[in-house]
């Protein structure tokens, strides 16, 4: 383990950005980042599971792991950098002479120089996501994303091409970049973490850096139009009737919104197509138009 960036902190030990490096140096380079948001724990666990495996079997090439970028945020279960409430993932490409978040972003971008880069996140604290890779509509990154064999491959036009996020910065630097989302913020889901770690392992196998531990687990490979999104018609208390990963058919009851006081059922949410539940709202208090459930269609083609 090495410290690739360090900066003093006023009231506590210095902030340090840690990198774990594995491999024989003969082959491709892979960088995997997790914990940029301090309340997203599944990515941290997945990367640490992978680290455990790589300590046993040294990979071909070079693997850089960053299990936890936002240590100060993680200490407080906060998504953002606690000092100034800035999102590190909106500070790229960063600035070595800028604010502390700018400097962390610049150091991370520089230290994660690799042929293929993966940024692992959890869903927001109020939604749970089936492990998925979000990729562009075509090209090398689509092939790499599919090679991970995660339950959902979500092809999205212009996926994180611009802006100030790490994925966009990697791509601007000419690197292949994948965006992985698994589980829910604030909580640890060991099953989703294991699934994600397996996907990272399959990606390494695809790159010729090791051997895959199991067959792909992809259930749905979809575009936006093939994802059925259910939003709340009105505010209330959402009660889910499904969990992520469940296969559903048209008419299946996905959940319902009830009055928070009195419990009158205000509306029901039902599947309109065959598919797998990829997103379920975990925090029940919902505003009108908020996301409740997403179903990735398995009936296309």
């Amino acid at each position: 383990m090495s410290v690739v960036f360090r900066i003093e902190a006023p009231y506590r030990g210095a902030y340090e950005l840690h990198r774990l490096t594995f491999g024989n140096g003969e082959g491709p380079t892979l960088a995997i980042v997790a914990g940029m948001h301090g309340n997203e724990l599944n990515g941290m666990h997945a990367v640490n599971l992978l680290a455990g495996a790589l300590r046993v079997v040294r990979p071909r090439g070079t693997v850089h792991l960053f299990p936890l970028v936002n240590t100060f945020g993680a200490d407080e279960a906060r998504k953002r950098w606690p000092f100034d409430d800035h999102d590190i993932n909106k500070a790229f490409p960063g600035d070595p002479d800028g604010t502390v978040v700018d400097r962390i972003a610049q150091a991370l971008l520089e230290a994660s120089d690799a042929d293929v880069c993966v940024d692992v996140h959890s869903g927001a604290p109020h939604v749970r996501e089936l492990p998925q890779v979000r990729v562009p509509m075509s090209g090398d990154e689509l092939a790499l994303g599919r090679a991970m064999g995660l339950p959902v491959v979500w092809r999205r036009p212009g996926e994180r091409l611009g802006g100030t996020g790490l994925i966009g910065a990697w791509r601007a630097a000419g690197r292949k970049a994948l965006h992985v989302v698994a589980g829910r913020g604030i909580t640890l889901d060991t099953g989703h973490s294991r699934t994600t770690a397996d996907g990272l392992n399959r990606l390494m196998a695809h790159l010729g850096m090791g051997h895959a531990v199991g067959p792909p687990a992809t259930i749905a490979d979809v575009t936006r139009s093939e994802v059925e999104t259910h939003r709340a018609d009105h505010g209330g208390f959402f009660v889910p009737e499904v969990r992520v990963g469940v296969n559903v058919e048209p008419g299946h009851l996905l959940g319902y919104v009830q009055a928070p006081i009195g419990g009158d059922r205000l509306s029901e949410v039902r599947a309109q197509r065959s598919g797998v539940v990829m997103t379920v709202r975990a925090w029940p208090m919902v505003h009108a138009q908020e996301l409740l459930v997403r179903v990735a269609g398995t009936d296309a083609g």
Binding site: I7, E8, A9, P10, Y11, K79, F83, D84, D85, D97, G98, T99, V100, D102, R103, G163, T164, H234, G235, G236, F237, A259, P260, I261, M285, V286, H287, A288, Q289, E290
Partner: protein
């Protein structure tokens, strides 16, 4: 959605003698608990003249802007019969954030000032941004009223787009110390001010605080803008124009960020808008445990201090002051 609402606390003391200005909700957001929060607009005037929109409280930690809106409304309440045009005042665009004094919209934890022009079918902050834009569309002049960021104390200033010379010329009448012609940053396209060409942003004071003098200066500035635009007679202003500030107009090259090199507690050496010579100390950084001096932070040029850090905790690289060179 538009719904007429009468709010007794905002009406005239004696509604029998004067018309109650129109108070409307431009959007109502239903909350999960069943409550409703609304973004309100108060309209003054009804003539065919110019329409000016004054928008405050886009962030919930900027009560100074809300106070400015209140002061302007107090004047307009007694002036409406003579008002040559329409003034729409939106005293608080982000009521839930203001309710808890936070910069961001609660729960979603998003900055409303990064969501414009908004979406009619999005989540509540998106819909609020959309409703505000729709309601303001067609206004001849838009003014955003802000407070400063919570960590800083700032001199009264007007921000306009760097190439918008007309807006800069108008903003010179806003009783500010500086008119800053600012280049758009990466997030500019999603800010409120970017949606309407010529928008003037007024800010000053400190976030989450009301600073004596700042609100009064900027509300005078807004009234003077209304006079400059012809909505209010110059002779009717409650102050004499000769007492207003003559601002310094600057661009980005004249605005310098001063950063701490060490972490610790920053102790400012003086107030906003004082003059400093090149090399003069603008503040010191001390060890937070022992209080011993770690760094003297110095001005890089002969300048005025536009903003000075109020929140003492700093990391290496934290901006502690912003200075402007003439």
């Amino acid at each position: 959605m538009s719904r007429d609402v009468r709010a007794p606390d905002l009406a005239y003391d004696d509604p029998g003698e004067a018309r109650v200005p129109e108070l409307s909700s431009i959007i109502e957001v239903e909350l999960p608990s069943g409550d409703v929060t609304a973004v309100m607009r108060r309209r003054f005037g009804a003539s065919d003249g110019l329409r000016v929109a004054l928008v405050a409280g886009i962030r919930g930690d900027a009560p100074e802007g809300i106070r400015i809106a209140h002061a302007v409304m107090r004047f307009l309440e007694s002036y409406e019969e003579k008002l040559n045009g329409i003034v729409d005042v939106y005293p608080c665009a982000n009521p839930l954030a203001a309710h808890r004094s936070s910069r961001l919209w609660p729960f979603f934890d998003v900055d409303l000032n990064r969501l414009f022009p908004g979406r009619s079918g999005g989540h509540p902050p998106d819909r609020v941004a959309h409703a505000i834009c729709q309601d303001i569309r067609g206004a001849d002049q838009v003014v955003e009223l802000r407070g400063a960021r919570a960590a800083f104390r700032e001199a009264p200033q007007a921000l306009v787009r760097h190439r918008d010379l007309d807006a800069a010329k108008l903003a010179a009448h806003a009783n500010v110390a500086v008119v800053w012609r600012r280049r758009p940053g990466p997030a500019a396209a999603s800010t409120f001010a970017h949606q309407f060409p010529g928008t003037i942003v007024l800010e000053g004071g400190t976030g989450n605080r009301l600073t004596a003098g700042i609100g009064e200066d900027l509300s005078d500035g807004v009234l003077n803008l209304l006079a400059t635009l012809g909505l209010v007679g110059e002779a009717d202003l409650p102050f004499h124009w000769a007492g207003l500030r003559r601002p310094l107009e600057v661009d980005d090259e004249q605005v310098l960020r001063v950063r701490a090199e060490r972490g610790g507690l920053f102790l400012p050496a003086g107030e906003a808008w004082r003059s400093v010579a090149a090399g003069e100390v603008v503040g010191t950084v001390v060890d937070p445990v022992t209080g011993e001096l770690r760094e003297e932070v110095r001005s890089p040029a002969d300048a005025h201090v536009l903003a000075i850090r109020e929140l003492p905790v700093v990391f290496p690289g934290t901006m502690v002051a912003r200075v402007v060179t003439p």
